[in-house]
C-alpha cells in the first residue's frame, strides 16, 4: 500500500488562534478516513487545508508523494463535496458535471459522454437538463458527488456532506457513499461531527479536539480501547457513563462515588492503590438484575423505549444510563440492581483523563483491512 496523503507536523494559525496543532496523519491509498470531532475541533480546517483552500502555517503536506504546501487548489487534483453542495446554480446538472472537463479543454462530445456515464451510475440520467434549484436535497447531493467522480481525482474530500439531509436519507446516502468509495477504489477523507457516520463508513477514524488528534485507529478499536476520556465519551451512542472512583488499598477494587451511595467494583487488573480515577461503563455493557443482586443499586428515573431497546436513566447523581435490549419491566422510582462485567470497564486518570492500563479481554483480535468490496457495493442503487 502506498501513502496517498501524508501530513507531517501540520500547524495552522488564524492570527493568534491555533487551529491545527502538530497534526501527523498518514492515509493509505484506497482507505476511507473519517475526521470526527465536535464543532471547532479543526476537522474542517484540516480538510480545507488538504484541498488547498486554507494555507497551512507550518509542517508538510503531501498528496501522492508530491509536496502540496504551495500548490494552488486547482493543481492538487483533489475533488471536494461541500456541505452546501456548492452546485453552480446557473448551470444544468449536465453542465455542472462537465464543468471541470470543459475547464481543462476536454472536447465537448467526450465530456458529454463522461457525464452520461457517471450519471448512469449515480442515477441522474433523467435529470441532466434540470437546474439545481429544481432538484431535491438527495438529488443535489448526488450531483455534487458525480461532479467529483467525473474527474477521477487523487482523493475525495467530503465536508459534512450529509448534514443537510433528513435522517432516513442520511442513512441511505451513508451506504451509497461507502459503496461508491469501494467501487472506485478511491482515497476518501470524510469530515463529520456524527460519530455514527464515522464508525459506520470509515476504515480509519481520526478523533479531533481543539486542533489536536486525540486518537486514530480502526472504528472498533476506538470503541473498545478509547485512549482517553474524551474519545470514550465521544465514540458510542448513547454515551459512556462516567463515575468518579478511588482505587482501594488492595489495588483490585474500586470504591465508586455515587453521591449519596457507595459501591464496590472488582477489577481484572491491578492498578496503583489510592489513585483517583474515572470509571467508564458503556450503557450497553450493564445488565439489569434484581435489587441487591448486582454491583450497585439505583433508583430508576426516566424510562425511554424505542421498541428495539430501552434506555433507563437513573435518578441519582451522577446519572447513569443503561440500555436494555427489547422491552424492559423497569418503572420509574423502582430500585434496580446493576451487574457490571469487570472486563468491560474503562479506567481513566481523574486528572489527565488518559486511559489507565486496563484492557479488554478480547482486544488482541486484529482485523485485516477490508479487502473484499463492501457488501453494499453490489447493491448500489440510487433511489
Amino acid at each position: 500500500m502506498t501513502l496517498q496523503i501524508e501530513l507531517n507536523g501540520v500547524n495552522k494559525f488564524y492570527g493568534s488562534y491555533h487551529a491545527l496543532k502538530n497534526i501527523d496523519l498518514a492515509i493509505e491509498e484506497g482507505t476511507f478516513v473519517a475526521l470526527v470531532g465536535p464543532s471547532g475541533c479543526g476537522k474542517s480546517t484540516l480538510l480545507r487545508s488538504l484541498a488547498g483552500l486554507e494555507k497551512i502555517s507550518a509542517g508538510e503536506m503531501k498528496i501522492a508523494g508530491a509536496r502540496m504546501n504551495d500548490v494552488p487548489p486547482r493543481k492538487r487534483d483533489v475533488a471536494m463535496v461541500f456541505q452546501s453542495y456548492a452546485l453552480y446554480p446557473h448551470m444544468t446538472v449536465e453542465e455542472n458535471l462537465t464543468y471541470s472537463l470543459r475547464i481543462r479543454g476536454v472536447k465537448k462530445a467526450e465530456a458529454l459522454r463522461a457525464a452520461a456515464e457517471v450519471a448512469t451510475t449515480t442515477g441522474l440520467s433523467h435529470l441532466m437538463k434540470r437546474y439545481p434549484r429544481e432538484l431535491s436535497g438527495g438529488q443535489r447531493q448526488r450531483v455534487a458527488m458525480s461532479r467529483a467522480i467525473i474527474r477521477h481525482p487523487k482523493a475525495f474530500l467530503f465536508d459534512e456532506p450529509l448534514s443537510n439531509l433528513d435522517a432516513a436519507l442520511r442513512v441511505h446516502m451513508r451506504k451509497e457513499i461507502r459503496a461508491l468509495h469501494d467501487r472506485l477504489g478511491a482515497t476518501s477523507v470524510y469530515v463529520t461531527h456524527d460519530q455514527i457516520e464515522a464508525m459506520t463508513m470509515a476504515d480509519h477514524v481520526v478523533v479531533m479536539r481543539d486542533g489536536i488528534i486525540e486518537q486514530q485507529g480502526r472504528p472498533l478499536d476506538l470503541y473498545d480501547r478509547p485512549a482517553n476520556r474524551f474519545v470514550a465519551g465521544f465514540i458510542g451512542s448513547p454515551a459512556m457513563n462516567f463515575i468518579p472512583a478511588v482505587v482501594e488499598q488492595d489495588g483490585r477494587h474500586l470504591a465508586l462515588d455515587l453521591g449519596a451511595t457507595q459501591a464496590r467494583l472488582a477489577l481484572v487488573e491491578t492498578v496503583p492503590a489510592g489513585a483517583s480515577v474515572t470509571v467508564g461503563i458503556r450503557p450497553e455493557h450493564i445488565r439489569i438484575v434484581g435489587a441487591g443482586q448486582g454491583a450497585l443499586d439505583i433508583p430508576v428515573g426516566v424510562v425511554e423505549s424505542t421498541g428495539s431497546a430501552t434506555y433507563i436513566t437513573s435518578a441519582t447523581q451522577p446519572e447513569l444510563m443503561v440500555v436494555e435490549t427489547g422491552r424492559s419491566a423497569a418503572v420509574g422510582g423502582e430500585l434496580i440492581g446493576l451487574a457490571i462485567d469487570p472486563a468491560q470497564l474503562h479506567l481513566f486518570d481523574a486528572e489527565t483523563g488518559n486511559r489507565l492500563g486496563i484492557g479488554r479481554a478480547h482486544e488482541s483480535e486484529k482485523f485485516a483491512p477490508r479487502a473484499a468490496p463492501h457488501p453494499a457495493a453490489a447493491t448500489f442503487s440510487p433511489s
Binding site: 483552500l53 486547482r74 453542495y85 456548492a86 452546485l87 446554480p89 464543468y99 434549484r133 474527474r151
Partner: protein
C-alpha cells in the same frame, strides 16, 4: 359598515388600504401628468390656451413637425451617444471598483463608502466642480493632459463643438459610477463563496472563474443596472444645465434638456410634450427590462 371596519382592522381591507395609498399617490403625481403630457403632444398649445384642457386636436402634426426640424436627428444622436457612453463608462468603472473592493483589504469598506460622496452630491454642484476641472484656460484636466504630453494645446471642453458632449459625459460617468459600484458590490457579495472554492478545485483559474461564475451569476444584477442606468441617464438634466446648456449650437443638446428648453424657454409646449412622449417609450422599455431581470434571480 361594521364588516368593512373589521376588514380594515384585521383582514384584507388593511392590505388593500396599504396598497391603495401609494397607488393613489402615484396616480395623482405621476399617472395624471403622464397622461396630460401624452394628450398635449396631440394638441396645439400656445401661451393663451395653456390654462385650459380643451385645445384644438392636431393629430400627429407635432411629431411630423418635430422630425422636420434640422436639429432633431443630431439631438437624438447626441442622446444615443450620451446614454451609451455614460452607461458603458459608469458600468465598466463601477464594476472594476466593485471587484477591487470585493477583495477584502484593510479599510476596504471604509474606502468604498468614500466613493459614495459623488452619489450624494447634487447634480448642479457636480456640474460646477466639473466646470472648473474642464475649464479651457486653467482647468486641471487640461493641465494634466498637457503635462503628460497627451495634448499640445488646451482643449476648450465646454465650448468646442467636438468636445462639448463629452464634457457632460465625463461628468456624468463620475456622478454615476459609485451607484453602479454599490449595486454591483451587492450583487457580488450575493454570490456564495463556496462556488468559487468548488470552481477552484475543479481547476478553474481566476480568469475562468470570472467568466464562468461571476459574470453568469451577476446577470440579473447587470441587467438591472443597465436598465436603471438608461433611466437615470435619460433623466440627467442638471449637468447639462450646469456645464454646457446644450450648446454650442446644440452639439451637446440631448432630448431631456431640449424638451425643457422647448417648453419653458421657447414656450412650445406641444413639441416639448412630444419629445417627452418619445422618451417615455424608451424609459418604459428600460423599465420592462429592469423588472424582468430583477424577477429572474438565479439562486441555488
Amino acid at each position: 359598515m361594521k364588516r368593512i371596519l373589521s376588514s380594515i382592522t384585521d383582514g384584507r381591507g388593511f392590505d388593500v388600504g396599504l396598497v391603495s395609498l401609494p397607488l393613489a399617490f402615484l396616480f395623482v403625481l405621476s399617472g395624471l401628468p403622464l397622461v396630460y403630457n401624452v394628450v398635449m403632444s396631440f394638441q396645439e398649445v400656445d401661451m393663451f390656451s395653456l390654462g385650459s384642457f380643451s385645445r384644438p386636436f392636431v393629430g400627429f402634426k407635432n411629431y411630423i413637425d418635430l422630425f422636420g426640424q434640422p436639429e432633431t436627428w443630431p439631438i437624438l444622436l447626441n442622446t444615443a451617444i450620451f446614454v451609451t457612453a455614460s452607461i458603458a463608462g459608469q458600468f465598466l468603472i463601477g464594476f472594476g471598483l466593485a471587484l477591487f473592493f470585493w477583495v477584502s483589504f484593510p479599510g476596504a469598506s471604509w474606502l468604498r463608502g468614500l466613493f459614495l460622496v459623488s452619489w450624494v452630491m447634487p447634480g448642479l454642484v457636480v456640474g460646477a466642480i466639473w466646470n472648473w476641472i474642464l475649464s479651457g484656460d486653467f482647468g486641471v484636466l487640461n493641465f494634466l493632459l498637457r503635462e503628460t504630453g497627451v495634448i499640445s494645446g488646451n482643449i476648450f471642453w465646454r465650448s468646442d463643438p467636438s468636445y462639448s458632449l463629452w464634457a457632460v459625459i465625463i461628468a456624468n460617468i463620475w456622478l454615476g459610477t459609485s451607484f453602479n459600484m454599490i449595486l454591483l458590490s451587492v450583487g457580488l457579495s450575493g454570490i456564495p463563496k463556496d462556488l468559487y472554492e468548488a470552481a477552484e478545485l475543479d481547476g478553474a483559474n481566476a480568469f475562468q472563474r470570472f467568466w464562468t461564475i461571476t459574470l453568469p451569476m451577476m446577470r440579473s444584477t447587470i441587467g438591472a443596472i443597465v436598465a436603471l442606468g438608461l433611466i437615470f441617464t435619460l433623466q440627467q438634466f442638471d449637468l447639462f444645465a450646469a456645464i454646457t446648456s446644450g450648446g454650442p449650437n446644440n452639439t451637446s443638446n440631448v432630448t431631456q434638456y431640449w424638451a425643457w428648453d422647448l417648453s419653458f424657454r421657447q414656450y412650445d409646449f406641444a413639441k416639448g410634450a412630444t419629445i417627452s412622449v418619445i422618451m417615455i417609450v424608451f424609459v418604459m422599455f428600460a423599465s420592462v427590462v429592469y423588472v424582468r431581470s430583477t424577477r429572474h434571480e438565479v439562486r441555488g
